[in-house]
C-alpha cells in the first residue's frame, strides 16, 4: 500500500470512528420507560450524567441570571442579573407579584421543571429538563402552565414522552429554536432574523444554516455557539450576563479568512477595524417571516381593529397593538462589547424621552467599538408616576382578565412598590441582528453606504460625512 492510500484509509477510519461522537450514542438501550413525567426521565439521565446535570446547573440557561459582565457600570456588581429579574419591552417580566408567583408561560422556556414560584429550588437536579435540548423525536412539548411536560399533548397523542427520552442526542436547530425562535411570546417576535423558518431553510436565507442542497452548510447552533460543560457561548444584546462570546473570526481566520479571493480584498479588510462582519453580511433581517418592530402595551383593553401586516395581527386586546417588519434594513450603532441596560427600579429622568431598555455602548472615538447592525424596536409600557420607574404588572389572572392596569400593577408590586398612579412611557431597544447571514453576492455593496448611499447615517455615527470623502475614523481619532 502506498503512502497516499494509507492516508486515505486513515482518514476514512478516523471519520468512521468519530461519527458516533457527533451523532451521539444510541440511548434506546439505557432509557426504557415508560415515563409518567419529566423528572422521571431526568432521574434516569442523571444515573449516568450526574456531572453534566451539575455542570448545567451552573449555567445561565438554568439560573437565568449571572454576573452582569455585559452591562456598562455594573462590572463590579456582586448582584446577579438575568431573565429571572430583568425587564424588557416584550412580555416585560417573568416576575408576576405576590406570593412569588411568576408568569408561568415565560418559564415554558426554562430548561427545568416546576418554576412556578420565585423560591424555586435551583439545587434539585431532578428539576433539570434534559429533553428540551436533547430530545430528537417524540415531539417533546412543555406546557404554558405549570412549567412542566405538556400533558395535554400526551393525552391527544401529539407527543410521545418515552420516544422523546429514548431519542436523546446532540441538539438540533429545532431544539434550540423551541425557545429561541419563539422569544417574545411567539414565532419571530423578539430576535432579529431568528425564527422557525431557519429550522429548514436555504443558503439564500442563511449561509450557515441553509441546507446542503441549497449550497449552505446546514450547521447546528452550537457550531458557532461553542459549548463547554453546558455553558453555551453567545452574548445577547438584551442580557446582562454572558458565559462566552461568539465571533465570526472564531472560524473565519487563517485558511478560512475572509475576502481572500476578492479583488478588493485589501480595501474590504481595511473596514474590519471599524465595521463588524455582520454589518455588510446581514443586509436585511427577517427574510422569511415578519418580526415585531413595536409593541404598545397602552392599547390593552381597547376595542381596536386588528389589521393584517405581513400575515401577523396588529392588535390583540390582551397585549395591545403592534407593527411588524420583513426584510428589514437594520439601523447601525457602535458597540464596544458593553450594553447600556435598563434595570428593575432604575429611575426615569425624563419620561418624555423614550426609556432606553437596551443599547450598545460605544462611539466613533472608542477604539474598541465597531459599527454593528440592529433591529430598532420601540414600544410603551407603564411607569409608576410617583416613583418614576417602570412598573411590574401581573398579566395572567389580572390584566388579561379585566384589563385594569391599576389592579395589575398593584398585584405585581411585590418586587417594586406601586404608588397607585401610573402613566405610559415610550421605550426603545437595540436588538442585535446577528443571524441570517446572506450569501456573499447579497452582501452590502460599497455604493449602499458610500458615494451617496443612504444605508448609513454617517453624522449620527459621529462622522463628518461619508468617510470615503471626509476621511475614516483613524483621521477623526487623531483630531
Amino acid at each position: 500500500m502506498n503512502f497516499f492510500k494509507k492516508i486515505i484509509l486513515l482518514a476514512v477510519l478516523a471519520v468512521v470512528s468519530t461519527a458516533p461522537v457527533f451523532a451521539g450514542p444510541d440511548h434506546t438501550e439505557f432509557v426504557k420507560g415508560p415515563f409518567k413525567d419529566g423528572p422521571e426521565v431526568t432521574r434516569v439521565c442523571i444515573g449516568c450524567h450526574d456531572k453534566q446535570a451539575a455542570d448545567f446547573m451552573k449555567t445561565t440557561h438554568w439560573n437565568w441570571k449571572g454576573t452582569p459582565n455585559h452591562v456598562k457600570g455594573l462590572e463590579k456588581s456582586s448582584k446577579l442579573y438575568g431573565k429571572a429579574n430583568m425587564l424588557n419591552a416584550f412580555c416585560t417580566s417573568i416576575e408576576a407579584g405576590k406570593d412569588g408567583i411568576v408568569h408561568e408561560a415565560c418559564d415554558k422556556c426554562h430548561a427545568g421543571y416546576g418554576w412556578t414560584r420565585t423560591d424555586y429550588d435551583f439545587s434539585n437536579k431532578t428539576n433539570v429538563d434534559c429533553l428540551i435540548c436533547h430530545a430528537l423525536k417524540g415531539n417533546y412539548q412543555r406546557a404554558s402552565i405549570g412549567c412542566t411536560v405538556d400533558m395535554k399533548s400526551m393525552e391527544k397523542g401529539a407527543m410521545d414522552l418515552d420516544l422523546a427520552a429514548r431519542s436523546v442526542g446532540m441538539p438540533t436547530r429545532r431544539n434550540c429554536g423551541y425557545c429561541h425562535f419563539f422569544g417574545g411570546g411567539a414565532d419571530a417576535v423578539k430576535h432579529a432574523g431568528l425564527d422557525s423558518t431557519l429550522e429548514k431553510t436555504t443558503k439564500k436565507q442563511d449561509v450557515h444554516m441553509g441546507s446542503k442542497a441549497s449550497g449552505g452548510q446546514d450547521m447546528v447552533c452550537q457550531a458557532c455557539h461553542k459549548t463547554t460543560e453546558h455553558k453555551i457561548g453567545g452574548a445577547s444584546s438584551m442580557m446582562a450576563h454572558f458565559d462566552s462570546r461568539v465571533a465570526c473570526t472564531d472560524c473565519h481566520t487563517g485558511k478560512m479568512a475572509p475576502h481572500q479571493k476578492s479583488k478588493n480584498g485589501a480595501i474590504i479588510n481595511s473596514h474590519a477595524a471599524s465595521v463588524a462582519c455582520e454589518t455588510c453580511h446581514i443586509p436585511v433581517f427577517n427574510k422569511e417571516q415578519a418580526t415585531k418592530m413595536s409593541w404598545k402595551w397602552s392599547d390593552v383593553g381597547k376595542d381596536l381593529n386588528s389589521e393584517d401586516q405581513f400575515d401577523k395581527e396588529t392588535f390583540a386586546k390582551k397585549k395591545g397593538s403592534f407593527t411588524w417588519g420583513m426584510n428589514v434594513t437594520p439601523v447601525y450603532a457602535w458597540y464596544n462589547g458593553k450594553i447600556e441596560r435598563y434595570m428593575v427600579g432604575d429611575k426615569i429622568k425624563d419620561p418624555k424621552k423614550p426609556v432606553v431598555m437596551t443599547k450598545p455602548v460605544g462611539d466613533i472615538k472608542d477604539k474598541a467599538a465597531k459599527i454593528y447592525p440592529y433591529k430598532l424596536y420601540t414600544g410603551d409600557q407603564p411607569m409608576d408616576s410617583k416613583y418614576r420607574y417602570l412598573g411590574i404588572f401581573q398579566q395572567h389572572k389580572s390584566l388579561w382578565d379585566d384589563f385594569s392596569w391599576d389592579k395589575a400593577l398593584k398585584n405585581g408590586s411585590e418586587i417594586l412598590p406601586y404608588s397607585g398612579k401610573y402613566e405610559f412611557v415610550n421605550t426603545v431597544s437595540y436588538i442585535s441582528a446577528s443571524h441570517e447571514v446572506s450569501p456573499k453576492e447579497d452582501a452590502v455593496q460599497c455604493g449602499e453606504c458610500h458615494m451617496g448611499g443612504k444605508r448609513m447615517n454617517w453624522k449620527e455615527l459621529g462622522y463628518k460625512g461619508d468617510p470615503m470623502k471626509t476621511g475614516g475614523r483613524s483621521l477623526q481619532l487623531k483630531r
Partner: protein, 102 residues
C-alpha cells in the same frame, strides 16, 4: 415586426392579468383533518374557518410544515393562520402556522 410586438404585448397582458387574478386568501381556521400523500411530499388539510365555519381543503407542500405533520407538531384541533393561493382549482398553502403564543 409590429405584429410580433403586438402579439408579445397581448401575451404579456394575458399572463399579467392571469397573475393578478390568482386568488390569494387569508384565513384563521381549526385543523379538522390531515391527510398525507403516499409519497409524503404533500398533504391535504381540512381547515374550518373560525369566523364563518366554512371548511376549506388546503394543499400543503412545504417541507417544514410537512415535517410538523409527521412529528405531530400540528394535529387536529390546532388553530392555524393560513394564506393560500388558488392555483388550478387547488388551494395551495403559502403560509401555514399555528396562531398560538403565550
Amino acid at each position: 415586426m409590429r405584429k410580433i410586438v403586438a402579439i408579445v404585448l397581448l401575451l404579456s397582458m394575458a399572463v399579467l392579468t392571469g397573475m393578478a387574478y390568482a386568488e390569494e386568501i387569508k384565513m384563521v381556521g381549526t385543523v379538522s383533518k390531515i391527510e398525507m400523500a403516499a409519497d409524503k411530499k404533500s398533504a391535504n388539510v381540512l381547515l374550518k374557518d373560525v369566523k364563518s365555519g366554512a371548511e376549506v381543503t388546503i394543499v400543503v407542500v412545504d417541507e417544514l410544515t410537512l415535517d410538523k405533520f409527521n412529528d405531530k407538531r400540528i394535529v387536529d384541533g390546532d388553530e392555524i393562520r393560513c394564506r393560500y393561493d388558488n392555483e388550478s382549482g387547488k388551494n395551495v398553502s403559502k403560509i401555514f402556522k399555528k396562531t398560538a403564543g403565550c
